[in-house]
Assembly symmetry: C2
Homo-oligomer: 119 residues x 2
DNA sequence: CTGCATCCAACGGGATACTG
DNA sequence: CAGTATCCCGTTGGATGCAG
């Protein structure tokens, strides 16, 4: 069998861009237009300021998020998905569909597996 | 804005199933038929026995992988994707496409971002 | 051949406090 | 408002050795 890592490489790259605990949340929250820092903080339940900042920086670095600073007082910063990220967001819909079709099966499989182990 | 976590939930679930460092590799390696433990170990470059085992168990628990033991000497174990996992594997193709279309842009964005930071 | 057990290092991520 | 700085801990994953 061929080296599978090389074959799967582009796939793992995508995953890495969104694999953080909060990346998907930001992606979804910013999908329908520009969002401000505090809006994100409220929309993404449980995220800390620190993690929000880190996630935003990472997504910005990857070219998925566009950061616009308005030099006002108090400061105002808006985050927008890039075209690339919009496309990704739509692509991810098929994954959501898969998840919704099979989440029941998965839960059942896990339950069954755990029951068998405990014996 | 609504609670985004809830909305993105099924999506993060899928990611979790595949987010391990090696899960995708196993998924791809097993996509074209049953594979044995040692085959996987060789196909997935750099994986340790420990991590291979852990990854296999996790995928099996999630109902993505089917484990068949042949009670021979020496032992022989085959891993096969379940129908659900096959479906997932095909769904992931669209992600691969996205990655291949944009990996250049992403690399450029990162380079640009890093250059701007270093000033 | 196919694992499991143990030890250990690195990293992600939470809590908290401070700032332009 | 939109961050940055520190500290700290749990989890992930690598290395190695043993076993059915």
């Amino acid at each position: 069998m061929r080296d599978v890592i090389e074959e799967a490489c582009p796939l793992t790259e995508v995953i890495d861009h969104v694999a953080g605990k909060w990346s998907i949340g930001v992606l979804v929250a910013a999908a329908h237009g520009p969002v401000r820092f505090t809006e994100l903080e409220r929309a993404i339940n449980g995220i800390s300021r620190r993690m929000l900042t880190l996630t935003l920086r990472k997504l910005e670095r990857d070219g998925l998020l566009c950061r616009t600073v308005y030099p006002t007082v108090p400061p105002k910063v808006e985050y927008t998905l890039t075209a690339m990220a919009q496309e990704l967001h739509e692509t991810l819909r098929s994954l959501t569909d898969w998840a919704e079709r099979h989440r029941g099966n998965i839960a059942a499989a896990q339950k069954h597996y755990d029951a068998a182990e405990r014996q």
